[in-house]
């Protein structure tokens, strides 16, 4: 049997490690242990030359798009990547796809998304998930589902194993997803539920975030300028 291939698209524009990378690599590593070939593409780095992105997607059985929520949507580099992948798919098909929203006529790879946001409530991510589903329908990919996490700041870009009990539910969600993908199934409902489980209570998350902003601003010598209003309003 031919070795199956999973590609992780990291949608975080941050130059270093990110929570998106941490979540995506945990799933990718699990698939690798199951014998899959794996590849990671940082979407920020392929903006000027998308050939690596297009080649990776072309040979993928499963594409995992991991991204942070930016202004209630995908970050711009991830939007650009999806635009290019849809264009490539259209050219490949020779005509515009007319595919059911459930992806039933899809012949492209499976698409799984992992989205995290800086708000404690995962529901902020819902619209961006719908956009990814619409992309899959337009590109002729099979929509396999989304894992949605609130309070992504808790991960701090560190490997999930290092986050101990805080990330236990997220790890279980990703393990269940890996098992399902390996068996040719979509993201299980139980994995969706586990990923959506808050890592810490919302009130505590808000307090910790606000403390963190003050501490970081003070470290940059901007502690007394957090409320600056540099622009003139009408």
């Amino acid at each position: 049997m031919e070795r199956r291939q999973a590609v992780l698209l990291v949608g975080s524009p941050k130059p270093g490690r990110s929570s998106s990378l941490a979540l995506g690599e945990y799933l990718l590593d699990d698939l690798e242990r199951r014998g899959w070939g794996t590849e990671t593409v940082n979407l920020r780095r392929v903006m000027n030359d998308p050939s690596a992105l297009l080649v990776a997607a072309e040979r993928a059985d499963v594409v995992i798009l991991a991204y942070p929520l930016y202004v209630f949507g995908l970050p711009a580099p991830a939007v650009l990547a999806l635009e290019r992948l849809a264009d490539a798919s259209r050219k490949h098909a020779g005509q515009a796809h007319e595919i059911a929203a459930d992806g039933s006529a899809a012949d492209g790879p499976r698409l799984v998304t992992i989205v995290n946001c800086g708000f404690p409530e995962h529901a902020h991510n819902d619209l961006s998930t719908e956009m990814c589903r619409l992309f899959a329908a337009q590109a002729g990919w099979h929509w396999s589902g989304a894992l949605s996490l609130g309070g992504g700041g808790v991960i701090e870009g560190r490997p999930l194993r290092e986050r101990g009990p805080l990330a236990r539910s997220a790890r279980r969600a990703l393990e269940q997803t890996a098992a399902a993908l390996h068996d040719g199934r979509d993201v299980p409902a139980e994995a969706v539920r586990l990923m959506a489980k808050p890592m810490i209570p919302a009130r505590l998350y808000r307090w910790m975030s606000n403390y963190g902003w003050r501490r970081m601003a003070a470290g940059n010598g901007a502690g007394d300028r957090l409320d600056d209003r540099p622009f003139v309003t009408p």
Binding site: V71, P75, A76, V79, P120, C132, F231
Partner: protein, 227 residues
């Protein structure tokens, strides 16, 4: 009375120029003074996600390119028009790149707002928001998601008025104009005066009073209409 058009269309977007012409004409006729920003002609790197605009140079991006102009121009506007090809129900790359740079207009603090967490605005001034999308089929699921995206963005940027409309460029100028006018009216933005803003002719002390809260007869700011 200033309307900023953030034009996120690509050079090859079919029918974009025709729809833009109708948009400019109708906003101008309604009394809005236009700041037309064609984003594809602007050199702007994507947001780095480094939050320097909150913790290093509060209120503006740490990188000195056109990304810094986004919050400045949005803050100076009374109405922000998001003009884009509907892209999987969302904004095009060019528009999203600019919109991602809007966060300096927010404060970093997380606050509970109506049962969910959000950021308070940095400025008291809240520009109205209108999404104008282009799609070959002007209804259906992408249009619904597009309108929801504008409304969601509005929920954090807190404009008193917002709305969205999706236009099929093949519909013709008259129909496109009708839909734009209907969307503006539904959001209470038919004219600067209707939006509770001064008109050029009314400038002066009386006009200052007119820039207060919206008239009680105006539609609810939470409404989003897909005309």
């Amino acid at each position: 009375m200033n309307a900023l058009i953030m034009d996120g269309t690509a050079a090859g977007d079919a029918g974009a120029a025709a729809v833009k012409a109708v948009l400019v004409e109708h906003l101008g006729n309604a009394g809005w003074q236009l700041d037309d920003w064609v984003l594809r002609e602007t050199r702007m790197a994507p947001c780095d996600g480094d939050f320097g605009c909150w913790i290093k140079t509060p209120g503006q991006c740490v990188h000195a390119d056109a990304g810094r102009d986004v919050s400045r121009r949005m803050t100076a506007a009374d109405l922000v028009v998001l003009f884009t090809r509907v892209t999987f129900g969302g904004f095009s790359y060019e528009l999203k790149k600019a919109v991602d740079h809007a966060i300096p207009a927010l404060m970093p603090w997380l606050q509970e707002q109506g049962g969910q967490t959000g950021h308070p605005m940095r400025y008291e001034h809240e520009p109205a928001l209108l999404g104008v999308g282009l799609a070959a089929g002007d209804d259906g699921e992408p249009a619904r998601v597009f309108a929801a995206q504008v409304a969601r963005m509005a929920s954090n940027l807190s404009p008193r008025r917002h709305g969205a409309v999706v236009c099929d460029p093949r519909a013709g100028g008259q129909e496109i104009g009708r839909r734009l006018d209907a969307a503006l009216a539904a959001a209470g933005l038919a004219t600067p005066a209707a939006a509770g803003l001064a008109t050029p002719a009314a400038a002066g002390p009386a006009a200052a009073a007119a820039t207060g809260p919206a008239a009680p007869t105006a539609p609810d700011g939470d409404r989003v209409e897909v005309a």
